[in-house]
């Protein structure tokens, strides 16, 4: 095929991701880090990185560290998976992006790597829990894990972790008792992009700050983020218009409505129906606002196709 690193045969299997340090090493001479990464990439991850458990200690409160979750943990392996395709970004019907389905292959990749670690190296390996357990707080931060594993850095745009090559990715991680050599954190942050720095110099803002001044604000100094504020609650109410929150809101209004006819209208309304669908098809309804990412230039080269 035109752009694959391994020719037409690559389509028959799973191709090697271009941003995957050291995975081209032949299997026979691969280190265990290379071997684990190769398993993750073959299972569908776009990028894989490794962090040590020690790296979390100074950034994470007790109770939320990897070794609080898996006793004896030594390493965290992080997988990043693709979000919407470039074609989805181009769709003029905004409803497609609202419910465009995700593979969430990073989770599959994490499980494949867990299996590999337990079978090949006889060490414990578990998927790091990431769904919120109190409010918005997860038992372990996937954003921090991605940063510490050298896969990306926080951005102006809702503090989303941006990979310097691909931009927006979705992250999952595993925790293991296997000691692994970590990847270094990125030496240069992915945000702000040089184009955004130039824009800030000209007009005092960046594409994401300009498109969503309601949720985002920040300043650039010496080509780097100097201050950054993200109104999470406001963003949440816009980015997740269909989901658990909208279900709770609509249900609250429904049970408080005394008129049966009005109640019926609310129960069978498009909004409540879509909220229920979002609960059932959670993979398809992760977010309903992507505007800060739509205008972000990081990784855009992968969204410019024919």
């Amino acid at each position: 095929m035109a752009r694959g690193p391994e020719g037409p045969a690559a389509l028959a299997g799973v191709r090697r991701a271009p941003y995957a340090p050291d995975v081209a090493t032949p299997a026979a001479s691969a280190t265990r880090e290379e071997s684990i990464k190769a398993v993750g990439l073959e299972a569908g991850a776009r990028v894989v990185g490794i962090a040590t458990v020690e790296a979390f200690r100074e950034r994470v409160p007790e109770g939320y560290r990897p070794d609080d979750i898996l006793p004896g943990a030594r390493s965290v392996v992080v997988a990043g998976g693709d979000g919407p395709t470039a074609g989805a970004w181009r769709c003029p019907d905004h409803r497609v992006m609202e419910i465009t389905g995700y593979d969430l292959r990073e989770n599959v990749a994490v499980h494949a790597m867990c299996d590999h670690i337990e079978r090949a190296y006889r060490h414990h390996a578990i998927q790091a829990p990431s769904l919120p357990v109190h409010g918005h707080a997860p038992p372990m931060s996937m954003m921090l894990a991605a940063e510490l594993a050298g896969l990306g850095t926080r951005s102006f745009a809702a503090h989303i972790i941006l990979n310097p090559e691909y931009g927006l990715l979705y992250y999952a991680a595993l925790i293991t008792t296997l000691p692994l050599a970590p990847d270094p954190p990125l030496d240069r942050p992915a945000c702000p992009h040089p184009g955004c720095v130039a824009m800030y110099k000209r007009i005092g803002t960046t594409p994401c700050l300009r498109v969503c001044p309601a949720c985002l604000s920040g300043t650039v100094k010496d080509g780097a983020i100097a201050t950054s504020t993200y109104d999470r609650e406001r963003c949440h109410s816009r980015a997740q218009t269909y989901g658990i929150g909208s279900f709770q809101k609509a249900l609250h209004e429904i049970v408080n409505e005394d008129d049966p006819a009005r109640r019926r209208t609310m129960i069978y309304s498009d909004f409540f129906t879509k909220s229920l669908e979002a609960l059932g098809f959670y993979r398809d309804s992760i977010a309903q606002c992507f505007e800060c990412m739509r205008v972000c230039p990081v990784g855009r080269k992968h969204r410019k196709l024919r």
Binding site: M1, A2, R3, G4, P8, A9, A10, L11, A12, G13, R15, G44, D82, T85, A86, G87, A88, R90, C91, P92, D93, R95, V96, I99, T100, G101, Y102, D103, I254, V255, P260, R263, R264, I267, Y268, D270, F272, T273, K274, L276, E277, L279, G280, F281, D284, S285, H302, L305, R306
Partner: protein, 285 residues
């Protein structure tokens, strides 16, 4: 002259089959124009669309059809598997061929109208044809679940299926004898069912499918069921009865269906269960 490297279409189809699809076909994006309403054509969703890749598979296995408990088919849905294949093909087209690809979301923008009709896509891509019972059937594999990817890549398109799976030879014979077919007999619209139709010279010349009625039977434990019980529970003044509604088997199963959406796709398969063409040509012991 094609802008794609030689063998690209064949390699893409090979990747689809390796990823788990039973069939893969490609339709010309423009072919939808005369059949699909505005806003539901490929180019409405992806400007510059040239092809639509359709994959079918993840169908009930022969063992599922043979199972004696109807609960097996009710809770073995696997549509998620074929959707996963569609998503991966979209990523593959973009990363390997360098063309835009849009995975058609399996949900609806509003109501029951899909973004793009997957049934029409399967027909135009030559991997299926409509049946008297409603679903699009593949002539080799029978009843399949579908997923589609719209792309700007100028892939080699397939023609429509030459030999339709429906009506199967056995159904034609039954029609000659009894003026009905297995699917029409098991769910007749004239007796409270969903289907009606007529064959002439071995071909369907008239079909009728009561979609709203079918929907209430196929998705008994789905979002509609949730809404129905919720309304009843809120209208019920008696606290004990309300408790029974909320803890009842129907509502409990409905909650399971909503939570495990990919395994509770449908609760009625009778027209497909009796269809000789739906289970594919491969015979098992």
């Amino acid at each position: 002259m094609s802008e794609l490297p030689p063998g690209a279409t064949a390699a893409l189809k090979s990747a689809a089959l390796k990823a788990g699809a039973a069939v893969c076909g490609i339709a010309d994006a423009r072919a939808f124009d005369e059949h699909a309403p505005p806003r539901h054509r490929p180019a409405d969703l992806l400007p510059g669309a040239r092809s639509v890749v359709v994959v079918g598979g993840a169908q009930p296995r022969a063992g599922d059809w043979a199972a004696t408990s109807r609960a097996v088919l009710e809770t073995m849905g696997t549509t998620e598997r074929i959707q996963s294949v569609g998503r991966r093909l979209a990523q593959l087209i973009e990363s390997e061929l360098g063309y835009y690809a849009l995975f058609v979301p399996p949900g609806t923008a509003s109501g029951d109208t899909p973004f793009l009709s997957l049934m029409l896509a399967a027909e135009l891509a030559g991997v299926g044809s409509r049946s008297l019972a409603g679903p699009v059937l593949n002539s080799e594999h029978g009843f399949l679940y579908w997923s589609a990817v719209i792309t700007t890549a100028p892939l080699e398109v397939d023609g429509r299926e030459v030999e339709a799976a429906c009506p199967a030879p056995a159904c034609r014979e039954m029609w000659e004898r009894e003026a009905t077919t297995p699917c029409l007999e098991v769910c007749p619209a004239s007796r409270g069912g969903c289907l009606d139709g007529r064959l002439e010279s071995g071909r369907a010349v008239r079909t009728f499918y009561d979609a709203p009625r079918c929907h209430t039977r196929v998705h008994t434990h789905w979002i509609g069921g949730f809404q129905k019980v919720l309304e009843e529970a809120l209208n019920e003044p008696d606290k004990d009865k309300r408790k029974m509604l909320l803890y009842g088997d129907f509502f409990t199963r409905t909650l399971w269906a909503v939570t495990y959406s990919s395994t509770n796709v449908a609760q009625c398969f009778e027209c497909m269960r009796v269809c000789p063409a739906a289970h594919g040509k491969k015979e098992l012991h």
